[in-house]
């Protein structure tokens, strides 16, 4: 009776044809693992061995995609019970329930194995089955080999049960994982498949299948035979569905429980939210969904924080209940992300912190230069130092932009690690966003113009970059001379104009090795943002100059 009062929704289950059909196996190939020892009998292996086998066989729990061995390992001795989760409370899904019907011995065996691994007695092991008020006409008998516990209630029942289970220590593991565990222990098979329900409007004969992991969804749908071209494909559930827009690039994964394809073109028309409050009535977490939705929509973070945004786990009951057919779950998720990302001040604080601790390669040089300049250490380490770091690693010269480019592409070579370079680039972006008077040691002006400075005309930038190229084409000695000429010029190009301040301060030091400073320009520009990798490399010109520049750099840094 309590189930009537419990919050939730009661959608039609629609499991029927699929549930009564046999599981179709896509391929008879099995993957035997040589590392798993042969076992005849449950009594002959130890719990640790079971967990080891689960690890070798790469079995994952399809409920959340986590590796089974981790779950077993972490709950060893602490679990007071273990359950094979065959709840399948969403419409259309029946891939776990069908295992209880058709692979019952495997599930029972897997359950016993899990029980042994966790140290749980036989009477505390059971399979959980959803017995909704809208009963489906399949009988699942309680048996000697496996106890069945029927859970009543509304969708979403699994979380409520699991929460209760967690509080009382029962570990819920998917029935599919049980089957795979059985196979791993007794047949030495690795997990290479997942049990998936193929259903939906477009599937004329829905059924459950055992599909290989990594199979493209398109192939899976062809396997089941579509009667119409679908307009909506989703995986992992119907109410908590993740829509798939490109079935060729989406694959069957360990936590794929269903692939559903619908062709009904009467898609939900978005209507305005009329504030009926049904979303709040059905939310199993008793969240104020209406307000969370509005706050996420209008990005009111303070409101979100006060209302328990973190407790939403995406069950989709609110989306189902909404009469305006609003997509509530994605918006709530967005709100959650907004709050976790923090307010802009937090971001700035974070970026400041990352800049205070520069990357390890730069640490040695950055503080020195920064302190030498008498600037606060909270500023960004010089891009110049980054270039030095990049120097030995990435010997491929960074391309210099063509004359017509605004942002000379200092395409950091791939060997360096695109991600690292991008991180650095991103760091630099934040640096550029800073106040004009950042007192960072920024001696070398750049050719790039990252937030476009209003003061500097684009034409002048072009001229400057052309100039630099022409300089670089000259011989190194000429380059030095030209560089000394260009050093005052070069500094202008500093987008932040902090260079001006830094330059004036550093002027005496600079004069000692002007060429070094100037020559560092192309390097700096070279290691600059990766976003526009357009220009062609000009290796021969740069290498020698770079080498000299590196040496001169070091001279500069140790005044």
């Amino acid at each position: 009776m309590i189930s009537i009062l419990r919050r939730g929704i009661k959608p039609e289950q629609k499991k029927e044809p699929a549930l009564n059909r046999d599981i179709q196996v896509f391929t008879e190939n099995v993957a035997i693992s040589r590392l798993i020892p042969e076992t005849k009998d449950i009594d002959s292996i130890s719990p640790e061995k079971i967990i080891e086998i689960a690890r070798i066989a790469e079995i994952a729990d399809e409920l959340d995609g986590k590796p089974l061995w981790e779950k077993l390992e972490s709950s060893r001795g602490k679990a007071s019970g273990v359950a094979a989760d065959a709840l399948d409370d969403e419409p259309y899904l029946s891939s776990r329930l069908v295992l209880i019907l058709q692979r019952r011995e495997d599930v029972a065996s897997g359950l016993r194995l899990c029980g042994k691994a966790l140290g749980v007695e036989a009477d505390k092991q059971f399979a959980a089955v959803f017995h909704s008020l809208i009963a489906f006409s399949t009988k699942i008998p309680d048996g000697e080999d496996m106890r069945i516990r029927r859970l009543n209630g509304k969708y979403p029942i699994d979380l409520a049960e699991r929460e209760k289970g967690e509080r009382s220590g029962v570990l819920y593991i998917g029935a599919g994982a049980m089957v795979h565990l059985h196979r791993a222990v007794f047949e030495m098979r690795r997990q290479t498949t997942a049990f998936v329900t193929l259903a939906g409007d477009c599937v004329s004969a829905p059924f459950n299948a055992e599909l290989p992991l990594g199979m493209p969804l398109k192939r899976a749908l062809e396997f089941c035979g579509l009667s119409e071209e679908p307009t909506y494909i989703c995986t992992n559930g119907s109410l908590t569905a993740s829509p798939v827009l490109d079935p060729e690039s989406a694959f069957v994964e360990v936590d794929t429980k269903a692939i559903l394809a619908f062709h009904r073109y009467d898609h939900a028309q978005p209507a305005p939210c009329i504030g009926c409050g049904r979303c709040m009535e059905v939310c199993p977490q008793q969240l104020p969904v209406f307000y969370l939705y509005q706050a996420s929509l209008h990005k009111q973070l303070s409101l979100l924080r006060r209302m328990g945004y973190e407790r939403c786990y995406g069950c989709g009951a609110c989306t189902y209940a909404c009469p305006s057919h609003l997509d509530l779950v994605p918006m709530l998720r967005q709100g959650k992300e907004l709050v976790s990302a923090g307010l802009p001040e937090d971001l700035i604080q974070q970026s400041r912190e990352t800049q205070e601790q520069p990357e390890p390669a730069q640490e040695a040089e950055a503080p020195e230069e920064v302190n030498a300049a008498g600037t606060p250490p909270s500023e960004v380490p010089e891009p110049v130092t980054v270039e030095d770091v990049k120097e030995p690693v990435g010997a491929v010269p960074t391309p210099e932009s063509a004359g017509g480019e605004q942002e000379p592409v200092p395409a950091v070579p791939e060997e360096v690690g695109g991600e690292e370079a991008e991180e650095i680039a991103a760091m630099r972006e934040t640096q550029f966003g800073r106040e004009v008077l950042s007192t960072a040691e920024n001696p070398e002006p750049e050719e790039t113009e990252q937030p476009p400075n209003k003061d500097i005309d684009r034409d002048q930038m072009k001229k400057r970059s052309k100039k630099r190229q022409s300089e670089k084409k000259q011989s190194p000695e000429k380059g030095e001379r030209a560089a000394s000429e260009t050093s005052p010029r070069a500094s202008q190009k500093d987008v932040e104009s902090a260079a001006g301040a830094a330059r004036t301060r550093k002027a005496p030091a600079r004069k000692d090795a002007p060429s070094g400073g100037a020559k560092a320009t192309p390097k700096k520009a070279a290691a600059r943002p990766v976003s526009s990798r357009k220009a062609a490399p000009k290796a021969p010109v740069k290498r020698p100059s770079r080498g000299t520049q590196a040496k001169e750099k070091q001279e500069v840094k140790k005044p």
Binding site: V436, Q460, R489, Q492, G500
Partner: protein, 268 residues
């Protein structure tokens, strides 16, 4: 908006009439716009009161603000406007005796009119030249008067069937137009129409590139004029400094131009 920009920018010189209207754009003096617009005469009285308080207050603000401590300024301005209102009342009472019954306490409240106080306390007026302050006073008063008259022009005929006290034939009458709620609603609509027109104007003017603070011309002018405030100062110094060097660079790169061009063409 700095005065320098305003001086440079023809349009912004007359801020307060249409562009930064105190009632519709800044939302100051709303009670007066609602209560006094029951009839055109009361609107006229309050507009006159606004003018007679704004001029002395703005002049005081522009000339004597330095000598008055910050916290005392509002008090002084209110006293000045109250002092200005007293002789005005005598004058207006002889012209429109009946209006003061309708206005009640709102005439005296004009001594604290936010449409006068807020600009007077802002940097727009404080410490600026008296001529400019006078112009500001006139502009704000004119803007205020326009709004009051505009609303009264609708409320009086609809509410009591008269314009300036003379009975007029109106197809329909709504006695509750005299109630404040109607005034608020009308004011809301006025503000909405005003904002729509303002946005339209901005759109059009931006296309022409003139009459706007953010236009290139005014921006460059701003940068050349040294501004108060340390950050802004340094910002501008550096830009000027950079600009200097850009100019030097340009001179020096004159001979490289041809090369640059060919390269550009090649790359393209």
């Amino acid at each position: 908006m700095s005065s320098s920009t305003q001086k440079n920018n023809l349009f912004h010189r007359f801020d307060g009439v249409l562009w930064g209207n105190p009632v519709l754009a800044l939302g100051l003096g709303v009670p007066f716009a609602v209560i006094a617009t029951v009839s055109m005469r009361s609107a006229a009285v309050l507009a006159a009161a606004m003018l007679c308080t704004a001029v002395p207050v703005f002049l005081v603000a522009s000339l004597c603000a330095r000598y008055i401590p910050q916290w005392l300024r509002a008090v002084v301005y209110s006293l000045v406007s109250a002092a200005a209102l007293i002789p005005l009342r005598a004058l207006l009472f002889s012209l429109f005796p009946a209006v003061f019954d309708t206005l009640g306490v709102y005439y005296a409240l004009m001594a604290l009119n936010p449409a006068v106080m807020i600009p007077a306390l802002s940097h727009r007026v404080t410490g600026e030249k008296p001529g400019f302050a006078l112009l500001n006073a006139l502009c704000y008063s004119l803007g205020f008067a326009l709004v009051l008259f505009g609303i009264a022009l609708i409320r009086e005929p609809v509410g009591s069937g008269t314009i300036w006290g003379h009975p007029v034939e109106i197809p329909f009458q709504l006695a509750p137009a005299q109630y404040p709620f109607f005034g608020f609603i009308l004011l809301g609509y006025f503000a909405a129409v005003y904002q729509f027109l303002e946005r339209l104007f901005v759109l059009v003017a931006r296309k022409r590139g003139r009459f706007l603070k953010n236009s290139k011309k005014s921006r460059r002018e701003e940068e050349k004029i040294p501004d108060s405030g340390s950050q802004k100062e340094q910002k501008k110094k550096l830009t000027w400094f950079k600009r200097n060097q850009e100019e030097q660079a340009e001179e020096q790169t004159g001979h490289n131009d041809t090369e640059g061009i060919t390269k550009k063409q090649l790359d393209k």
